[in-house]
Amino acid sequence: MNTSILILLVLTSLGLIFGFILAFANKKFAIEVNPLIHIVEDVLPKGQCGACGFAGCAAYAEAVVLNADVPPNLCIPGKEPVAKAVAEMTGKQAAAVEPRIAQVKCAGSKENAVLSHEYQGVQDCAAANLLFGGQKTCKYGCLGFGTCVKNCPFDAMTMSEEGLPVIDPEKCTGCGKCETVCPKHVIAMMPLGSKVRVNCSSKDKGVTAKKACKAACIGCSLCMRQCPHGAIEMQNNLAVVNPAICQEKCTEALCLTKCPTKAIRPVILGVVPGTEDKACAGCQ
C-alpha cells in the first residue's frame, strides 16, 4: 500500500514539475507566428502541386501574407474563389485567375505509333527516356508509362487502354504538375475556352513524322491557310494555335476540315485523345 502511494506521489510530482517547465518554455521561447498564415493556408486546396512557384501550400501562405509583392492569385487549382478569399484576407488587390486545363499533345496510341525497340527497363517515362529517348520511333511523343498519372495531385488523370493519359476535366485544376514531370513535354496547359488543339508534338519533317506515327502533324500548313483569323502558325513543322485569337474570333473552326491526318482536333473535354471520332461522329 505504502509503495503504491509513493509511486503515485513521485509520478504526480514529476508530471507537475515537467508540466511547469514546458509551460514556462512555451511562454519564454515562443515564436511569434502571424496567425493569418494558418488561416490563409486553410483556404488553399492542399494539393501541394507547386503551381504557385512555392514549395507547397504552407510556403505560399507564408509568402503571400508576409511579402507584399506576392500576388494573391497564384493558386491555380483554387481558381477564382480562393484568389478572392486570399486577396480579402491579405488586403491585396484581387486579380483574375485564368482557368486552364491540361492537354496531352500526342495521339501516338499503341495503334498509331511505330516502336523502334522493345523496352524492358523501369516502367517510368523519365527512365525510358534515358535509353535513346524512349521506345517510340517518334522522339517527341508520349511514352505511355504514366509518370504524369502517378504524379497528379488531384487524381485527375488515368491511362487509357490505348496507352495515352486521359484528363478528367471535372478534376483537373490546371496546376501543371504533369507538365513539369513529363520528360517529353507533351502535356501543356490550355485555357478552358479553347476551341481547337493540335494533338501532336512532332517537330520532324512530314515524311519522317508520318512514318513514325499515323496521327502525326505533318506540317502541311493546310490548317494555317484555312484559318481566316491567322490564329495558326507553323513552327518547326508543327502547327501551333494561338489560343487568344482562337478563343476570341473563331466561330466555325475551318481548320478542322482539311487536316489530312486529323492532327488538329476540336476540344471535347473528357474524351480519350485519338478516339474523338469514335466518341462523337457528329462534331465535324
Binding site: 523502334s116 527497363g121 523501369v122 517510368d124
Partner: protein, 440 residues
C-alpha cells in the same frame, strides 16, 4: 598471391568463344558512317562538305573545345552525305558518310616516323590530341584531357587496365598477345608525357598467356611490372583497379588523378604508340563480335564507321533469332535498337544474345536480402538506392546514400533475386539530380 577487392560477382566469362582466335582485319566497307561525336565532351562540327574528296586519316570534324577529340576519315573516298544517323550511345547524331574509292590512301605525310624519346611532354600530348585519341575501354573520355592534370595534382603511377573483366570480350586479350611491343611502347610514351616513374599492368588471372607474354616483354624494363589480378567482376572498374594495385582509395566524387594515378586501356596504349611514333589517327580498333547468335564469333580489326550489320555479316551472320543486341559487354554495355549503328571509338564489343542468354524475368519488390550490399564493390546500399529511385526520392538518394559514387557496374542487378533494375533506377536518379541542378 593475386590481389582482389571487396564485393564483386563471378559471372561465367564466356570468353572461350573468341579467346583463342587471332585478330582478323575486316576489309574496308564500301561506305563508312562516321558520327561527329564519339567522345564524352563537346561535339565536333564537320569541316568537310558533301562532294569533298577525303583521304584516310584526314580530319573531317573538329572543335576548339578542350574536352573534345577530332574525328578523322577512316578511309579515302568521297563525302556523300552529312545527316543524322543512329548512334550507339546518343541514339541519334549527325554523321559524315564517306563512300570508299577502294584505294584506301593515306593523307599526305602519313604515316610519318618520329622518335618519341626526343619529344617533350607537350609535343606528345599534342600528338595524342591531333590523333583524336579517346579512352577505348568504352567510356571514350578524351585521352589528352586525362593526361593533362591541373598543376597542383602530382602524378606518380600509371596503370594499364588490362583486366578486361566484362564477360565475352577478348579484344584486349588478343591485343596483348599480338601487339605486346606496341602496348609497352605506348605505356612508356604515356609515362614520359606524364612524368611518372612507376607503371603497372593489371591483368585478370583468367588470361595466363597474356600475363606470360606481358611479363616477358617487361622483363628488362625496371619501371614496369605485371600484376595478376583475381578473376572477379568488376576488377577492371577504374576505382577498384587503383585500389587493388596501389592500395589507394579514390575519394568520393574524385578522379584517379586525385590519388596521383592515371589509368589507360590496352587499346588506348596501342593507339598512343601509333599516334606518337607514326602520327596515325584513331581510325580503327579491335572489337570482339560474339554472343550466342553469332555463327562464327571473331576478334576483328574494324574501321570506325563500319556498321554493326557489316561486322556481323563478316562473322557469317546470325545462326538464330536474336533477343538482344549490345554494344560493349553484357554487364555495362548499351542495348541497341538497330544493327545500322556504326562502330565508334569506344566499341569494345558487339554482342548478339539469344533468348536463352537473356533471362530477364519480371521485376518484383525488394525483399531486403542484402545480396546487392555484399556484391557492391563501392560499398553502397544498392537496395535503398533502387527503392528511393522507384519512389522518386532522388535528392535523398544523393544526399544520404552516396548515389553519385555508384559506378553502374551492374553487380547488384546480377545477384538480385527479385530481378530489380537497380542500375536503371540509379541512372534515373542521377539524371533527375542533374536536371534539378541544371534548373537552379
Amino acid at each position: 598471391m593475386v590481389k582482389s577487392f571487396r564485393g564483386g560477382v563471378h559471372p561465367d566469362d564466356r570468353k572461350r568463344f573468341t579467346a583463342a582466335k587471332a585478330i582478323e582485319t575486316m576489309p574496308v566497307p564500301d561506305k563508312v558512317i562516321i558520327p561527329v561525336r564519339q567522345h564524352i565532351g563537346a561535339p565536333c562540327a564537320p569541316i568537310v562538305k558533301v562532294g569533298d574528296l577525303v583521304k584516310k586519316g584526314q580530319v573531317i570534324a573538329e572543335t576548339q573545345a578542350f574536352v573534345a577529340s577530332p574525328i578523322h576519315a577512316s578511309t579515302s573516298g568521297k563525302v556523300v552525305e552529312i545527316a543524322d544517323y543512329p548512334h550507339p550511345v546518343f541514339g541519334c547524331c549527325s554523321a559524315i558518310v564517306i563512300e570508299s574509292d577502294g584505294q584506301d590512301e593515306w593523307a599526305e605525310g602519313l604515316p610519318l616516323t618520329r622518335d618519341w624519346r626526343t619529344m617533350d611532354s607537350a609535343a606528345i600530348k599534342n600528338a595524342i590530341r591531333q590523333a583524336g585519341l579517346v579512352g577505348m575501354g568504352g567510356a571514350t573520355f578524351p585521352t589528352h584531357v586525362k593526361m593533362s592534370p591541373p598543376p597542383e595534382k602530382k602524378l606518380d603511377t600509371f596503370i594499364l587496365n588490362a583486366a578486361e573483366c566484362e564477360p565475352y570480350l577478348t579484344a584486349d586479350h588478343r591485343v596483348m598477345l599480338e601487339q605486346t611491343d606496341r602496348i609497352i611502347t605506348g605505356i612508356l610514351i604515356a609515362m614520359k608525357a606524364l612524368g611518372v616513374k612507376e607503371g603497372y599492368i593489371g591483368i585478370e588471372d583468367n588470361k595466363p598467356d597474356a600475363i606470360e607474354a606481358m611479363r616477358k616483354a617487361v622483363d628488362n624494363i625496371v619501371e614496369l611490372s605485371v600484376v595478376p589480378l583475381k578473376t572477379k567482376y568488376p576488377q577492371g572498374a577504374e576505382k577498384t583497379l587503383i585500389y587493388v594495385i596501389t592500395g589507394k582509395e579514390v575519394p568520393s566524387g574524385g578522379l584517379p588523378m586525385d590519388v596521383g594515378v592515371v589509368v589507360q586501356n590496352v587499346g588506348t596504349a596501342v593507339a598512343i604508340a601509333n599516334a606518337v611514333e607514326k602520327g596515325l589517327p584513331l581510325i580503327e580498333r579491335v572489337t570482339t563480335v560474339t554472343g550466342g547468335c553469332i555463327t562464327e564469333p571473331k576478334n576483328l580489326l574494324l574501321r570506325i564507321g563500319t556498321t554493326f550489320e557489316q561486322a556481323i555479316l563478316f562473322c557469317n551472320g546470325l545462326k538464330e533469332q536474336p533477343a538482344k543486341l549490345i554494344m560493349g559487354g553484357p554487364m555495362m554495355g548499351m542495348a541497341q535498337s538497330t544493327v545500322n549503328v556504326p562502330i565508334i571509338k569506344g566499341t569494345s564489343g558487339i554482342l548478339v544474345l539469344s533468348a536463352k542468354d537473356v533471362n530477364h524475368g519480371e521485376e518484383r519488390p525488394c525483399i531486403r536480402c542484402g545480396r546487392c550490399v555484399d556484391a557492391c564493390p563501392m560499398g553502397l546500399i544498392p537496395s535503398m538506392l533502387s527503392i528511393l529511385g522507384e519512389r522518386g526520392k532522388f535528392q535523398e538518394a544523393k544526399a544520404e546514400y552516396d548515389l553519385l559514387d555508384c559506378v553502374e557496374c551492374g553487380s547488384c542487378v546480377y545477384v538480385c533475386p527479385a530481378k530489380r533494375n537497380i542500375v536503371h533506377y540509379i541512372k534515373l536518379s542521377k539524371a533527375q539530380n542533374a536536371a534539378m541542378a541544371a534548373k537552379k
